[in-house]
Symmetry: C2
Subunit: 162 residues, 2 copies
């Protein structure tokens, strides 16, 4: 999954968003007393260009400049800084994507039960509204303080369905 000539195919976020993105990442890192190094920028760029959450191995494979240990270290750091979010599929790999607070795009995931890949998808506004309402009401009953939700649709991806 290297950088492809025709980048537009892979790009999830337009130029403006991307430009803001690096500034926002730098700001968040500075807020936690961390630098926005070249290696970290490479990582963020790879995540921003991917059409779906990626595993650490995919990131390393996509960007020869990234070493395994530093990739894991920076992913953990970026997660703590609120820049990156981890995504769990059905296989043994942790996947990573940009935090919604940065992209401004709330979305959910299609998880393939066969191969484990995770694709993005958007739920209808009506569904999101219903979820938000239910979750808001939830807190009062259980003592659980809700901060967000994740909705995964499990099934078989187009590639595996054949």
């Amino acid at each position: 999954m290297r950088t492809i000539p025709n980048a537009r195919f892979w790009t999830r976020y337009d130029e403006v968003v991307i430009n803001d993105l690096h500034g926002a990442v730098a700001a968040r890192l500075k807020g936690v007393g961390q630098r926005y190094t070249t290696g970290r920028e490479v990582l963020i760029r790879a995540l921003a260009e991917a059409p779906r959450p990626l595993t650490a191995a995919e990131l390393v494979a996509a960007e020869p400049r990234l070493s395994q240990s530093t990739t894991y270290r920076n992913l953990a750091l970026l997660e703590q800084a609120g820049v990156v979010r981890t995504v769990t599929g059905t296989d043994e790999y942790t996947r990573f994507e940009l935090a919604e607070e940065l992209t401004g795009r709330h979305h959910h995931h299609l998880v393939c039960l066969s191969c484990g890949t995770v694709e993005d998808f958007d739920a209808p506004r009506r569904v999101e509204q219903g979820l938000a309402d239910a979750i808001a009401r939830l807190s009062s009953g259980t003592g659980f303080r809700a901060e967000g939700h994740r909705l995964d649709v499990l099934g078989t991806c187009a590639a595996c369905a054949g």
Copy 2:
């Protein structure tokens, strides 16, 4: 199939459901050419009595009769037989619960971002209906064949909130 002295505190499913449960598990195992051994029954009982998904370590700790390797082996086997389902929280442990097909109780999870524990909760019918509709419509668009969904509410549990 005896009843445990103070079972009520922990029991999620009433006697009738539990009794059917063991028969259903046995049937499913037989369907995959496997036996319903004593050890597997202990495992199922522990899962049925727990008020939330448990980790393998919790299961072993709860039941001295269970050895670690057999527990993992049987959990994997029971999952393949459609008896057990794995649940992913935010920590490094895989959790296990009875499959909804067996319990007949569709539910979702409250995942604590602080300590990682997972509690069960039921979404309002209206939300479930909205999800079902959205997912049904989804398949046509993407080539992804949906088979189910999982909805987790992320936040802070009562214990961690203090």
